[in-house]
Symmetry: C2
Subunit: 290 residues, 2 copies
């Protein structure tokens, strides 16, 4: 039937509230009592976002980390989370991993719902954080002349998943991703735009270009890899690394370790340039949620 994008476009037409506004596709900011709360919700489904045979503690960790990563991209410090949980095998392991991850990021479990149902396991988490910087960064603020930067490296989750499937080698980066929380909070006052790379550097850069009404030029050779050089093209299209992609005014340098991977051009608006070549659609750039 419909794709994620058309569904989200339809949702955009729904009711508004004076205290709340959308921030990017997936986050909202709620102004309350002089504070700004950042809210996000991410789901994970067996066979789509994790393997059925994975340790439920790792699945829980990743569910928390992916949501905290959304808060990190907004420079928000975590407060808590609500869980949607489908009961099944390994519930105690799930609770163990959930507790580890929540403690690691300083978030409380605020509530949730459990369901007993057949079929692939579904888990959802809503994370709530407090903005440390106003205005709260979004992916929509990149301006011509800005430098484009990336924390860390990509490709680790890709080779991690392969190790997990193979049953040998280091799969930690896939199983237990780390949200760049401290980096996001340090960067928030300086960036013109920021987002976490959940679906791949290229597709997420394309989304930042669209949201900003600018053209993002990516120098693919500049992107640091955590996998063999021979797999660069794949690694740029692979998600799950949860690094932060951000734009900084020309001449500015980031307060945390990061690599300059491109620049922001005036146009064509909403397009990506990969090594000089213009890309007008998001197809074949990374993971899409359809």
């Amino acid at each position: 039937m419909s794709s994620e994008l058309s569904f989200i476009a339809a949702l955009r037409g729904l009711a508004a509230h004076p205290a709340a506004r959308h921030l990017d596709d997936d986050c909202a900011v709620l102004e309350i009592g002089g504070e700004a709360l950042v809210l996000t919700h991410d789901a994970m489904v067996e066979g789509v976002h994790f393997l059925g045979q994975q340790d439920p503690a790792d699945v829980a960790w990743k569910l928390v980390a992916t949501n905290i990563s959304d808060l990190a991209a907004k420079g928000a410090e975590p407060i808590g989370a609500l869980l949607g949980y489908q009961l099944g095998d390994g519930d105690a392991r799930f609770v163990a991993g959930l507790g580890e991850a929540l403690a690691h990021y300083g978030a409380a479990l605020l509530g949730g719902d459990t369901v007993g149902a057949p079929g692939p396991r579904h888990f959802g988490l809503t994370a709530i954080g407090r903005a440390t910087c106003r205005p709260v960064p979004s992916r929509g603020g990149a301006r011509a002349g800005d430098g484009l930067w990336l924390t860390g490296a990509v490709g680790a989750a890709m080779v991690g998943l392969e190790a997990l499937r193979r049953g040998s080698g280091d799969s930690l980066a896939y199983r237990r991703p780390r949200a760049r929380l401290a980096e996001g909070i340090a960067l928030a006052p300086h960036v013109t735009a920021m987002m976490d790379v959940s679906d791949g550097v290229l597709i997420d850069a394309w989304r930042m270009a669209r949201a900003s009404g600018a053209c993002l030029a990516v120098d693919s050779a500049a992107v640091p890899l955590a996998c063999p050089e021979s797999r660069r093209a794949e690694a740029l299209r692979w998600g799950d690394d949860y690094e932060l992609l951000f734009a900084l005014p020309a001449g500015a340098t980031p307060p945390v370790p990061a690599t300059r991977v491109g620049e922001v051009l005036a146009g064509p608006a909403g397009c990506l340039r990969i090594d000089g070549e213009l890309v007008e659609s998001g197809e074949n750039l990374g993971f899409e949620h359809r």
Copy 2:
């Protein structure tokens, strides 16, 4: 495997946050900037909470109404919601019903996530409201001597589901439940305990008894029915009506239409008395989420 209750008990041991506290099993209160936010999350799964052939607009309505009902029981006015949505047939109808329900309850769609996955459809909603009354009512405050009251009647959803399955008759109460939002806000300053009846009057009264450390005595003949008298025993064990069950100090009368259905006794703590007969466990009292 584990049941809902043992899972929730395990979750209770997880990390806390100074600004947040649990309120009952499913809700949290977040104190921020002098305001109190109420947060809740409810999920719905095809084949468990709705029929596969149902109009997705009705499913969306119910997803919103069940969450708003949790806010109503806390006397909170809705602000917004985050959606976890599994893409599939009827996405446009789902958006239509979601929009109707959110507009009806004055809530904004704040964000969410979409997933493409096989198997029964899963939807989750996190609702956020602003408390209108402090302390925020919980199910845990019923005291010996209080009267036990219920808004509206029960059994309508039960006969509504039967009509829907049969393909004739009025199924509206099952398909489009109404959250008692105005009633909850009016009641909040007066109640000692309040909860919405999502799983059945008897099991939810038992839960209120457990949370309050009191004994709730229910006069089953006093409970108003929206179904034939011959089905009273079933209707008291059927969920999905979303009426409010609340305790009021002796002699107080509620500011909204409601029926006195029993009283609160000192003990045995955590027990239910149905027409004088003591019930010590929640078994066979209504719907359980395992």
